[in-house]
Symmetry: C2
Subunit: 329 residues, 2 copies
Amino acid sequence: MPQIVRFHETGSADVLKLEDLPLKEPGEGEVRLKVEAIGLNRAEVMFRMGQYLEPPELPSRLGYEAAGIVDATGPGVRDIQVGDRVSTIPSFSMGQYGVYGESAIVPGHAVARYPDQLSAAEGASIWMQYLTAYGALVDIGQLNRNDTVVITAASSSVGLAAIQIARAAGATAVATTRGADKKQFLLDAGADQVIVTDEEDLVERVMAGTSGKGAGLVFDPVGGALLTTLANAAASGATIFEYGALSQAPTIFPVLPALQKGLIIRGYTLFEIVSDAGRFARGKEYVYAGLESGALSPVIDSTFPLKAIADAHRYMESNRQKGKIVVTV
Amino acid sequence: MPQIVRFHETGSADVLKLEDLPLKEPGEGEVRLKVEAIGLNRAEVMFRMGQYLEPPELPSRLGYEAAGIVDATGPGVRDIQVGDRVSTIPSFSMGQYGVYGESAIVPGHAVARYPDQLSAAEGASIWMQYLTAYGALVDIGQLNRNDTVVITAASSSVGLAAIQIARAAGATAVATTRGADKKQFLLDAGADQVIVTDEEDLVERVMAGTSGKGAGLVFDPVGGALLTTLANAAASGATIFEYGALSQAPTIFPVLPALQKGLIIRGYTLFEIVSDAGRFARGKEYVYAGLESGALSPVIDSTFPLKAIADAHRYMESNRQKGKIVVTV
């Protein structure tokens, strides 16, 4: 019987349990993977704590991203065959289809082949980060070479993906990080400018770098008090994407700068892209092309074995990582 | 010497003083009006209190909207002639060009003729309300007959303008008001549905009226705690316009519904429209056509004489008015 990660109550990483569960068969439109690697996402930490967009039904599986080999397909699945080397695209309920485990069943539309030259760990580190950043910056934000993009929590996998996407468009990527310890890493990762928010004034630095205009795009998973600072650093007519809720503090809508500058502050998740067939297809094309050209290249911080899944979650919560945390199976 | 309203300190309506000031000559590109009527706006109350987007330089004039007869033009003014019957379009600094008084100088680009059949009081009640609502709902929001629009503070002049514009587009106008006393008035003014927020659950009512989908457009000058309620009543992908700051409470950015529904919450002022020549011209065309057809018809609550300007401000602050408060000169 495959080992599957589940939790029977919400809470700290301790609630994650490795359980032997019967091997299931894929249903209509579903495929089953023999999992080789799992990419971790902040969403799963939130889900485990009961703080995600979707509440868990206990006991609950979890996990959005896995790479593996298809070992069974359900009725009605086309284009995907047993033996295919694929990874999952988060376009499903993780409570229903959570991929943390040795075996995972997911909807057929939620898997895609990944380039041969990528490892399974890299294959599990593509879709959430690149489609999330692509959807905001390229699909909605229409990013171009004249834009300055402020990317907060820039050392996260999605933050690093946003830096790569901004650079690929010829735009100026301004990365923010709390402490100085990640500054050189972010410069090496492609940021044009790094603002260490514990030591530097974000608004001053952004204004200095944009001749006083401010940033036209902001990509932020933090919220809380930071949103007002970001609004003050934004250009007239700028769009600020809020794609997470990392801050525990209430997020104040910055009325004054929003009115003065006509700011668009919008909630955003990947689901906006993957729930629309056309936008989803264009996003996949974009990611494949970027991986092919080398403009996009996943950054893996570290790998943990499946039995250390709770440690992997604790490590993510420590915020020490620079890039993707992967569990190998 | 003409009587001009100024204030020497920010504060309550008591700070407004009627002063005899020398008649000034219009400068380059400016025109002078013999003022016949002044339309009051909430922005002027905020400005008087030092709470507006633009801080006053004391002593300060104030006022955005006046109707009158051009009695002098400065060098470089074309299209506008002495004797023209015009009203002002708020596209200037009210500290610099405030129109409260018997005489007002404004930039030539900020005046427009108004239809002959309108009184001066009506002429002073057109541009702020219709261009503000038009810019949000039509220019940006691309309002159409399938839309449901929630209009808060609906008894204000801009709220009533939004109701007329929504109806003109064949959309469903849902007006909200705090007390039941304005309900019949709002129905008579064209609202398809009126929600009395002191007595009814806004989210439930909007969901019931939209088969559970929610409203695609929200037009709100209140903010504060109301924004979260409005986000809960909004449809997936909806746009919420925040165009004022009537609430004294902090405005919380509703992270959860914003992410779940991909909500666009944007600051908005009329200046976004009037600072762009093409959008400004299209907006004027729209308003002229609506006044011509009768789809747009300004609602005047009451008129005050110039010497009672402080009373007029106090009345606006009482929130008892239904439509525009006008000062006749």
